[in-house]
Symmetry: C2
Subunit: 468 residues, 2 copies
């Protein structure tokens, strides 16, 4: 618990109306989108600018009070839960687009801007910000930066990190630094920009970011292919790549997902389907139509029982609807939905999905898998009930085995959600003891008093979902 | 000086024939491509594998002997000179391509492989490794990784860092870690891969790397535009970007460079030309011919006095010849050539070139500027004589002022060459005192005994070129 004098100091910095201490207010920021991780903060503040954030950080450092920076709280790995109490910092008052630079193709924003607002704003000018996490309608760019968010366009366009050119950051000692610039090339010292992106709020607080933009693709076309076998779908992915094409979207749904989607949306997907691929290509008109035609041929050649090509934007939306509805369709089937993101090299998707299905059966848990086939980023999603302790133990064991297989296949425990508190017990599996050691040293180099989002990324103990 | 017993231990690790202690041998590795920085190592070793490197590092850590990893020594910022003596590690025995994975579009290589060998090998399979530093015919991929090398294709395709997916690294304590994977998405912990790329050998020794490949562009077309004013050339660059095109190459030469090239190569460049742009586009046939046509129109519209489009590969080679010959043409005009790489946002190229010319006049030094106009990465190149102490002092002052202007324009002290020892006195200008402090903390987090390429990046004193 923080003292009253600490709260008083916070009020002096940001003003009384921007400090929240009520029970209801603290409750609202005690959880994020991760089931079963809840922990109340001591206080929630909404600073107005970098200077106020710097003062808050200095105050917290002096009193060794934990700080949890929080965007819209869509985190799926308990990355924004105030596990150790302390101060939750909100960015709702830092929500301005500062500049669009059409000559250097950059946009400079405050961390509280909603991701989709950025996309819409630049597209109106014929420009394009590619990273499109599924949460983009509500997530903030600050959250995306802290988590290095991915999205559907990752295969062709990369992830958030690939588009962050410069940052303003408040360090854990309260000092403000600026990294990078409106520069495609900059090798002056260690790359703090790329180190900070994806550091989950454990190294500093992002207060401003300059993002790289590219010209908006001329057009986009959409295709849906339905398969009776996962291997045929997976073989199609390989064939597309082998034929030197890089689709803008290459999404996958397995049978349990298709069933859930069909029950929910009645799109007419055949029940015998074992896999669906949603494929989109964007770019110049001539290239897109040629690629889509060739991709349709490859789908059929690899054994697709149906290939639908959208001729209008309405048809395209209808084809996308199934994949878009996947999480909602699955979520309505059980009280608790756990969305994971074990990721493997593209070539290992079929064997990985088979392992996931085998593991689900072994532990008698319900798992549907969908995700980004083009980049091997799968979302095995468990339908369960957090109140059922016995089942949750089986869920935990199933995911443990899924993570182990992901690593065995040359993959990782998290492709785009982050480690947070939830996956911290597994981080050493991916990076090794020596890797974990060096990461802890980096953390200490930035934050010797461990005030920035403590207990995230690095497990203090092996607490997992079940050990609440 | 290291002791005989230390040399004996090295011989036990790598074998006598792979330890070099002769005066001539040490002399050969006492310098890199940076004028005026020379310093003899104590010993040069050529290990055969990761295990031997790990043993060498452990030995050096025990005796606190500096280690300088060295590829082909093409470094331009005194990044591979053994400033503090110690052991130079060569990678000539780690020169194997380990695997080409056509399904996941990756190539895995040892650090001693020549960059161009990688490009040629994958192009033969219809694949493409885009980073193309000018030194690619002799530089090693290990050197490129340590320096995060750029190249001519940076605007469209990015730099080395954008293509490094995974590393095997020997840490300064001798432990071996593996970072990343054949993965487009991986957010498990801090991004050690991107931190190590460009860390100039100060954090660890790269012993293996997995590189991302993309499909090889179908075709490429080349255009040369000649201008009587720098502003018109610069305006053309802006117009191309404003018209949503991203050329594969967008190179610039100023008047002194054109003069030097013309004297050397007799390409028929008009002597009144103040600027030349070499522009290339690659991609699908239809896109390339349309883009090149539109770019030619823009060049003329902005005032180009001549626009040449190559119709054959021979013609393209002829158009490229001037830019390719730039450094050689300049280098023959004086005993010492100092090639710099101050970099600015693309929009600031014209004002920056004007400042460079003004500064050259002010200090009465000869500077020709060429470089990558698309990404603002300029190469102001000074023709001087290192034996003339008084002139070198003026050269130093001129570059100091150039760096200061680069930063004033929102740029950086180095776009693709690295900080090394040479630019270490200027690093704080770019990253600030707080930024420098955090970088020093990161260095200490990896290398507490400061054995890995010491005195690089971080200046111990303000030693510069002149203070030998």
């Amino acid at each position: 618990m923080v003292r009253d004098s600490f709260i008083k100091s916070l009020i002096e910095i940001v003003g009384e109306s921007h400090v929240e201490c009520s029970e209801a207010g603290l409750m609202a920021y005690s959880f994020d989108a991760t089931p079963n991780f809840q922990s109340k903060p001591d206080v929630v503040v909404s600073p107005a600018n970098t200077e106020e954030i710097s003062q808050i950080v200095k105050l917290c450092e002096k009193h060794q009070v934990p700080i949890v920076p929080r965007g819209s709280g869509t985190n799926l790995a308990a990355g924004t839960t105030p596990t150790q109490g302390g101060v939750v910092i909100l960015f709702n008052r830092l929500d301005q687009i500062i500049e669009i630079d059409e000559e250097n193709l950059t946009i400079t924003v405050q961390p509280g801007v909603i991701t989709k607002t950025i996309c819409d704003t630049v597209e109106a000018k014929g420009l394009f910000y590619p990273p499109d996490p599924s949460s983009m309608k509500i997530s903030t760019i600050g959250g995306n930066i802290n988590e290095n968010s991915g999205g559907l366009r990752g295969l062709k366009y990369g992830v958030t990190k690939d588009y962050i050119l410069a940052l303003e950051v408040v360090l854990p000692n309260g000092e403000v630094i600026r990294t990078g610039g409106k520069l495609a090339k900059d090798v002056a010292g260690y790359d703090l920009t790329k180190l900070l992106v994806g550091s989950e709020g454990t190294l500093g607080i992002v207060t401003e970011a300059t993002l790289k933009l590219i010209p908006k693709p001329e057009t986009k076309q959409t295709l849906l292919a339905i398969y009776e076998s996962i291997d045929q779908a997976s073989q199609t992915v390989s064939s597309i790549i082998a034929n030197k094409m890089t689709p803008a979207t290459l999404e996958f749904m397995d049978q349990p997902t298709i069933h859930a989607v069909e029950e929910y949306s009645h799109l007419g997907l055949p029940t015998q389907a074992e896999a669906v691929l949603l494929i989109e290509q964007d770019g110049p008109h001539s290239v897109v139509s040629e690629d889509i035609e060739q991709i349709a041929l490859l789908c059929r050649k690899e054994g697709a029982i149906d290939v639908k090509i959208a001729n209008t934007e309405e048809e395209a939306n209808r084809l996308r609807e199934g994949r878009r509805a996947a999480l909602s369709a699955i979520a309505r089937l059980s009280p608790t939905t756990i969305l994971e993101d074990a990721t493997v090299p593209r070539s290992e998707i079929a064997p990985m999905v088979r392992q996931i299905n085998r593991i689900a059966e072994k532990y008698n848990v319900r798992i549907a898998t969908f995700g980004h086939a083009g980049d091997g980023n799968l979302h095995p999603t468990c339908m369960t009930d957090a109140r059922n302790q016995e089942e949750m133990e089986r869920v935990e064991k199933a995911f443990e085995e899924i993570f182990a297989y992901a690593i065995e296949f040359g993959g990782t425990i998290t492709g785009e959600h982050g480690v947070g508190e939830m996956k911290s017990p597994y981080l050493a599996w991916k990076v090794g003891d020596a890797g974990l050691e060096i990461m802890k040293n980096i953390k200490a180099a930035f934050d010797p008093h461990n005030i920035m989002n403590p207990r995230k990324m690095f497990a203090k103990e092996t607490r997992k979902r079940i050990a609440l």
